[in-house]
């Protein structure tokens, strides 16, 4: 009785939230409903006794994939009126696909009945094994080559994504921490023995930085040091 009730609660919430994913107006709400759907799917796995898959579904899909998804959708600036314009255009195609799927569903479930208690009962795995161990043995021992191949496909996709998005123009300022740590005071600083007042007299009375903003700025402005000239101009105006 109770497993059946739990199953139906999870299944109902799952289906309702799946419908809400496509019918919610706000895309952020859609993603949140998608997360709810993932969560309930994990609940269904738990009911079926597949605890490892349930946890993995939450960790991978809810915890990582959907976060990035939400990230992107929140940043998007979506114009809803424009999106609805396409509705008329795509409606026939959508109806066709939907009709085919619906027909197939009817074919598959034409003898649908209330689920008997035996199908909800937890699956019995290999005797004396938790399903984590059973799954691990299956994937890493019996199907290790296929597993490695999957990993390789993902690696290629990852490298591809990085290649497509990496634009290192060399213009950005970046911090290279190793270089910072390797730097010593002797590399950058120099102790100069300057006699008191020597540079002041050489420059004609005041000290100014060499090759600085002041020299390259607009001649005649205050910054260039030509104060008298600038004041003259102001008087003319």
């Amino acid at each position: 009785m109770i497993p059946q009730l739990v199953f139906y609660v999870f299944a109902t919430v799952l289906l309702v939230s799946a419908v809400m994913v496509i019918s919610a107006r706000n895309p952020v709400h859609s993603v949140l409903f998608l997360i709810l759907a993932f969560f309930n799917a994990a609940g269904l796995f738990l009911v079926a006794g597949a605890e490892f898959l349930a946890m993995l579904l939450v960790i991978v899909y809810v915890g990582a994939v959907a976060v990035l998804f939400l990230f992107v959708v929140m940043m998007l600036d979506i114009d809803f009126t424009k999106m609805r314009e396409g509705l008329q255009h795509y409606a026939p195609l959508g109806a066709c696909v939907g009709g085919v799927l619906f027909f197939e569903l009817i074919m598959a479930f034409s003898d649908w009945k209330m689920v008997p208690a035996s199908t909800i009962a937890p699956l019995t795995g290999a005797p004396g094994l938790t399903n984590t161990a059973a799954l691990g043995t299956l994937i890493y021992t019996h199907y290790v080559l296929l597993f490695q191949a999957c990993g390789l496909v993902l690696l290629v996709a990852m490298v591809g994504a990085i290649v497509l998005t990496l634009r290192d123009t060399g213009m950005g300022r970046r911090q290279i921490i190793d270089r910072q740590h390797a730097r010593t005071p002797a590399d950058t600083l120099e102790l100069v023995d300057a006699p008191l007042g020597a540079s002041v007299s050489a420059q004609g009375g005041f000290l100014r930085p060499h090759q600085s903003y002041h020299e390259t700025s607009v001649p005649g402005s205050y910054a260039s040091g030509g104060m008298i000239e600038a004041e003259k101009r102001e008087e003319e105006v």
Binding site: I35, V62, G63, V67, F71, A133, Q175
Partner: protein, 341 residues
């Protein structure tokens, strides 16, 4: 009596409620006193007195704060998404509570002693980011949104290295059950053979809970208060409680994975007199003290430094360590035996 509690539905439900309360009440009290402990410890480190007016040694300070917070007005910003705005603090708070279901406080003493306990913890902690993202988005405020974005990237990044470190611990244990993980440390706590990972895990835990020096989601000097700028009253209080409950949770994870959970340091007479749950509490307190110590000591990281540390330092380090652990266990034949098909 025993028959009633273990074999009838009503009895089982009552038992479950009692068990839950036995975890939650000490936890909430712990959270209340953790805030006091933080203020007292930081005060001592900065040569101040800290709260000392409400009650003896300021022992009632936390409750005074709570009462003040409850009586404030709940302000919901005009442009906010009302439902999600209120949902976010509840999510954060309840996730911080729910995770405690699997923490064993003694041999077999957990509300739910499940086979995939550590994965459950990982799943719950990876859900924690939603409370923050939803809060940031629903507030309809730039500061809150930026805080949420930072937090999302930060938590996802550090979860990767936390996951890999947990894998290398699991390699040595051979089970995902938290009870088994503690029992596997009967002879030696994992913090000794896996010392570097212990440190990396602790730092990742700081980042995962968004504590200083990784408190960029809050970043009060740039983002005012980050993702919870717009919150007031009880909604803010729930975030606050959630953060501190998460600190305790992460400390208990560190204790269970590396410091031998409820086990005494040595199986000798004076140590074994102290009951197991107390040992766990001591270890959690030690970790919490270090959390506070770090906060009082280090300046906040810059955002790019945070990402660099997560992806370029911790990730390769924990990956290499995982492979090295596996290789070592294979070579020495110490790999725990798990039945194969």
């Amino acid at each position: 009596m025993a028959y009633f509690f273990y074999h009838t539905l009503a009895g089982q439900i009552i038992l479950m409620v009692l068990e839950t309360l036995a975890v939650l009440v000490p936890l909430l009290l712990g959270v209340a006193y953790l805030t006091l402990m933080e203020r007292k410890v930081m005060a001592a480190m900065q040569r101040r007195r800290g709260p000392n007016v409400n009650g003896l040694f300021g022992l009632l300070q936390a409750f005074a704060d709570a009462i003040k917070m409850i009586f404030k007005e709940t302000v919901i910003p005009a442009g906010a998404n009302r439902a999600l705005f209120l949902f976010a603090p509840f999510l954060t708070f309840s996730l911080a509570m729910v995770a405690w279901a699997v923490i064993p406080t003694g041999n077999g003493l957990a509300v739910a002693n499940i086979n995939v306990g550590i994965l459950y913890l990982l799943a719950i902690s990876s859900l924690g980011v939603y409370g923050i993202i939803i809060a940031g988005w629903a507030s309809n405020s730039k500061y809150a949104f930026m805080g949420a974005m930072r937090s999302a990237a930060q938590m996802v990044s550090y979860e990767v290295s936390i996951g890999l470190i947990i894998v290398s611990v699991l390699l040595a244990v051979g089970s995902l059950n938290l009870n088994d993980i503690v029992l596997a440390q009967r002879h030696i706590w994992f913090c000794l053979p896996m010392f570097p990972m212990f440190i990396v895990f602790f730092i990742s835990a700081l980042a995962e809970t968004g504590r200083a020096p990784f408190d960029l989601p809050e970043g009060e000097s740039e983002l005012v208060a980050g993702f919870f700028v717009e919150y007031s009253s009880l909604a803010f209080g729930l975030f606050f409680l959630g953060e501190y409950a998460n600190m305790i949770l992460m400390s208990s994870m560190v204790s269970i994975l590396f410091l031998g959970g409820w086990l005494p340091p040595l199986g000798l007479a004076p140590f074994t007199w102290v009951p197991g749950p107390l040992w766990l509490v001591f270890k959690i307190l030690f970790c919490l003290f270090v959390f506070i110590w770090v906060r009082a000591t280090f300046p906040r990281f810059r955002y790019d430094q945070l990402m660099r540390l997560g992806w370029k330092v911790f990730l390769p380090l924990s990956l290499v360590w995982m492979i090295a652990t596996a290789a070592f266990l294979m070579a020495t034949g110490l790999l725990p035996q798990v039945g194969g098909v």
